[in-house]
Symmetry: C2
Subunit: 270 residues, 2 copies
């Protein structure tokens, strides 16, 4: 495989993350923004909650002693809550206190010097689950021949607030997708249709609105994430980085092409 | 970084590859198709030709002795010719015989047991450059305040034919983007506008055609690549693979969740 040539951004989450490879989805946008700087790795697992993700994390994130062989994770986004917030007895439900414990555990996997996965170069960002529009979600499920599910706007809100609390406690920035989308929708449930594809997932394909043109739930999250990076981790903002291999016009005009073609650090050194 | 959990697809090429992270671009489509199976790594370098890519390859592809620590490259696509085919004295021009030598060298980096980069698990696919519509490309350049460039349909055709010859000689399948797009355009230069965004790059955003609806140059290449995989390397067709971590309903319904959450091989074992 690729030698240790580009560092990476890892997006950890549930289906909302997994579907980020859709056109205009979060992974697609980040991969485009970080092209030739960092690679973007999607670790989204549809239907998973914070309980099930912990053993998965322990298998995909390299232990400290193995990290030297592998691209560095420069940014890890953790975006859970959508499934944890299912209302009991839904089997995906995780109680609120277990949810916050699990989130803290995920954060400390990389941030705690005592963790076998300690990765001091990894910057963490938490993302809150989006507001659920249960009427639209149940229409979707029933339309697919399924049963309505126990999900609610209130429950998604409680889990979003809990993510913010974990962010405060662990000293990690939070992108508040819940509030961003709720406010964009004018705090009107029916207007959430503009930002959600099915009542649960942020839309990427755009909802054509007579007054606002194309609106996208993903746009709210992408803009929030870039803002969080800019404010908290400006060194890894895409615009702060350079291409690992030089732009072709530098190669073309160089008197010493083989030297110009030597890989560089994406971080511009002064 | 990620431990050795998902193998990868590496897309090597020039700007036509680099821009594949656009919505509906080739990388985006492959990342979506291979989600939770293989990761997609874009190694597209705008403006590069086969001469400049060789030292780059030697820096980003792991040497044989280091490959065990890293995700396996299951598929490597090599898509060059667009810049090599520039007409002299354009500085990106690479003579046709040097172009074929370079392409063979890239193929043999991974296929030859004598190469330091020998990677027996890596399947290679070559892709021909798309047809150039020089009128449209020069409109684009001049529209951006630049000068017209020496590129032509005929030259792109000669380089596309050369890629097919290399494929035959090296025993590697070829996706003939040139012929696919030329035939889709009814062999009419002006109709190439439907498949190219600017006369040089395959379009991803779609060209709304009164008679055909949305047409995409990328679609032709994507369909050709999936067909080549299906015919030559069926084991790595996205539909032949399983998720590395189980679908959530298997986890949910399992009597032994921790066992169900152990990573699996993407290749389904009988």
């Amino acid at each position: 495989m690729n030698a240790n040539v580009q560092d990476v951004v890892v997006l950890l989450g549930d289906s909302i993350t997994e579907f980020g490879w859709d056109p205009h989805g979060l992974s697609q946008r980040l991969a485009q923004a970080y092209a030739r700087k960092f690679d973007v790795i999607n670790r989204g697992f549809s239907g998973y909650n914070t309980e099930w993700i912990i053993p998965v994390f322990e298998q995909f994130f390299a232990k400290s002693q193995d990290q030297a062989h592998l691209p560095k994770v420069q940014l890890l986004t953790i975006w859970f809550g959508a499934n944890d917030a299912c209302i009991p007895p839904e089997p995906q439900h995780v109680p609120l206190d277990a949810f916050t414990t699990n989130l803290s555990k995920l954060v400390n996997f990389v941030k705690s010097p005592d963790s076998p996965y300690y990765s001091p170069s990894t910057r963490v960002v938490l993302i809150t689950p989006p507001p659920v529009y249960s009427k639209q979600w149940n229409e979707t499920l029933v339309g697919q021949g399924g049963e309505p599910q126990g999900r609610s706007l209130d429950s998604s809100h409680r889990y979003a607030e809990a993510v913010k609390e974990v962010g405060k406690k662990e000293g990690v920035p939070v992108v508040d997708a819940w509030t961003g989308i709720w406010e964009a929708a004018g705090k009107v449930e029916e207007a959430l249709r503009k930002y959600l594809s099915d009542g649960l997932h942020v839309n990427a394909n755009g909802y054509a609105d007579r007054n606002f043109g194309l609106t996208f739930g993903t746009q709210v999250v992408y803009d929030g994430l870039l803002k969080a990076i800019s404010e908290n981790y400006p060194a890894i903002h895409p615009e702060a980085l350079q291409f690992v291999f030089a732009p072709f016009d530098e190669v073309q005009e160089s008197q010493n092409r083989s030297e110009t073609l030597i890989k560089r650090n994406a971080f511009v050194t002064k």
